[in-house]
């Protein structure tokens, strides 16, 4: 345990860091949420609690605890919310599968709607006899001078 010579009750980050321990600390701390500044990791946060927890992790790493054990220690005290990767449980199934399910539903709706619309874009053309009539009319109209043809188009 850290000596209680720190008058304010807080521990300072240690003066001589062990690189191996610090690396493990970094890896773990970056996946744990700071409960005070809830949008930051324990690695980033300057909150006193984050400092304390980093020191806790350092100690536990030095004592030879595994990553799993240290994570379990945090979850036992703060709940699943402390993990940035929530475990897959009955309560988090919606969280993990929800986006995929919504994507599939959306894709399904899109597909169905597009399939229904396609036949309508290809309207059947006029029968051959009718076609000849239309062409004759068009030629007649083309022959008349401009301005006298009643056209609906602006």
């Amino acid at each position: 345990m850290l000596a209680s010579t720190f008058a304010c009750g807080q521990a300072d980050e240690i003066a001589h860091p062990d690189p191996v321990v610090e690396q493990r600390l970094k890896d773990l701390a970056e996946e744990l949420r700071c409960l005070v500044c809830q949008n930051q990791t324990i690695a980033d946060s300057n909150a006193p609690l984050a400092l304390d927890l980093r020191n806790q992790i350092r100690q536990q790493v030095a004592q030879g605890r595994t990553d799993e054990q240290i994570r379990a220690y945090m979850v036992a005290r703060y709940g699943d919310f402390v993990l940035y990767r929530p475990p897959l449980k009955a309560t988090t199934v919606m969280l993990w599968l929800g986006p995929l399910a919504l994507l599939l539903v959306g894709a399904g709706v899109f597909w169905t709607v597009v399939r229904k619309r396609r036949p309508q874009t290809t309207t059947p053309g006029p029968s051959p006899g009718r076609r000849a009539e239309i062409e004759a009319l068009l030629e007649e109209r083309a022959g008349k001078p401009r301005g006298s043809a009643p056209s609906g188009k602006p």
Partner: protein, 176 residues
């Protein structure tokens, strides 16, 4: 089929509205305690008033009690403090303080200034016991039953509403 075109968006809206109606009334910053229903973690600390005396939660077995986490540097603690003082005067339930990351002198001064509702205060200078209890903000209060099981955690100051609606009924129930 026409009714279906309206029914689906309506159903989606109603579902969304229901989730929002519930969700928006809750505080997203609150982290529920994983200790509800579990035994209060063991510890042994010196007492704030006298470092020769110790305190451990097992000392309170057989009684319903509150563990109130406080500190002289904590501003919100002053908001709930009068409520605690009043409770102690009425002898509703024993209140044990956990003086969190504080200094003895300042803790004692604070109690002299604002009143001391605590049967005693345990002195957690490093905050290690706080971590063991999942404390992430001060004040927090735990309701612990006769068998030493944590039954409820109040996050933040005890409001009169929380006291009337949740804490007092629970204490009465546990004491029955």
């Amino acid at each position: 089929m026409k009714a279906l075109r309206f029914a689906i968006p309506l159903a989606i809206f109603v579902t969304l509205a229901a989730f929002l109606a519930v969700g928006l009334t809750r505080d997203p910053r609150e982290v529920p305690s994983p200790f509800i229903g579990k035994p209060a973690p063991e510890f042994k600390l010196t007492q704030l008033a006298d470092e020769k005396l110790a305190f451990a939660p097992e000392d309170m077995k057989g009684k319903v009690w509150l563990l109130n986490v406080w500190a002289s540097w904590c501003v919100s603690c002053r908001v709930e403090h009068p409520l605690l003082v009043e409770m102690s005067k009425k002898n509703v339930v024993p209140i044990v303080g956990l003086n969190y990351k504080d200094q003895r002198a300042e803790g004692m001064q604070w109690l002299q200034r604002f009143g001391n509702p605590y049967a005693l205060s345990a002195f957690d200078v490093e905050g290690k016991v706080g971590i063991d209890y999942g404390v992430y903000g001060v004040p927090e209060t735990f309701v612990i039953d006769k068998k030493g099981v944590i039954r409820y955690k109040q996050i933040g100051p005890i409001t009169p509403e929380a006291l009337e609606k949740t804490l007092l009924p629970l204490i009465r129930e546990l004491n029955a």
